[in-house]
Symmetry: C2
Subunit: 164 residues, 2 copies
């Protein structure tokens, strides 16, 4: 099979002759272990799924939550400012705000200073709703602690603080 081929550890050769049962957890990942990106991706999938499930009753996804949080903490921001701060494309933010505005959580106010832009604000309903979302998000965060450990979660936040 090889032409010198620097393969590392072909552990089981169960493909052809032998019909050996292979449990998914005994398959070697080889070089994948040791790649930060892979671990981070798997973790991110887990954490998002838990977030979506925990905030399932209120039907709020992570991105929506981040938008509401930023507007709540900085009323009057333009769409451009919010998009830049969260690393979202402004085109994408349009749809997010359309949805949040339909649900009466956010309102776009025409800015008088710059008639091109909209000043974003939470509605009253949006503020009380966000308070509830924050409680649920805190619950989700406790799930993370339970999963990786309180100390490890703190470490993680410290390590990745530069990316927020």
């Amino acid at each position: 099979m090889t032409a010198t081929a620097p393969r590392t550890s072909p552990r089981k050769r169960a493909g052809n002759g032998t019909a050996r049962r292979i449990d998914a957890d005994e398959i070697g990942l080889d070089a994948l272990v040791g790649h930060a990106g892979y671990a981070v991706r798997r973790f991110q999938i887990w954490i998002f799924q838990d977030f979506i499930r925990t905030l399932g009753d209120v039907d709020i996804r992570p991105t929506q939550y981040s938008v509401l949080t930023v507007i709540g903490a900085n009323p009057g921001l333009s769409q451009m400012a919010v998009a830049k701060r969260l690393g979202i494309e402004r085109a994408r933010l349009v749809h997010l705000l359309d949805s949040l505005e339909q649900r009466k959580l956010v309102k776009r106010v025409k800015s008088k200073a710059d008639r091109r832009s909209h000043a974003l604000h939470l509605t009253i309903k949006g503020e009380t709703a966000l308070a509830k979302f924050k409680r649920l998000a805190a619950e989700h965060e406790r799930h993370v602690e339970a999963k990786i450990g309180k100390e490890n979660r703190a470490q993680l936040l410290r390590i990745l603080a530069g990316f927020t």
Copy 2:
């Protein structure tokens, strides 16, 4: 928590009257800081972009790399086994393999033991190509070290080891 709007720190109310300039980096994230999911998402975006850029010349994306790596380390696996191991939907893996097979990096061999399934193998070209991909991936990993620090990267891998 209360219906009396427990907003935490509406720092600047720059929306309407005042036309104050707001730099993107002085916008408060409020509750978003302290959410592991947000930090992880931003970091994952950064790390994937660097991976894609570093492996840009060979046109290999992170998911493709993970598939090649697992097949290389465990020749003869079925599509189902690979999908389960990597947390990919088997429907999605079909397209990934279509692409990799067109590029002559992977071949689907009809399994004699179970005629429903395919035994997955790297081609000769696939093996030498993967060796090159691994060198580039190692380079990418050095970028990660340069970004967050060698010690922090090791910590991160340790913390997230359970998700691989």
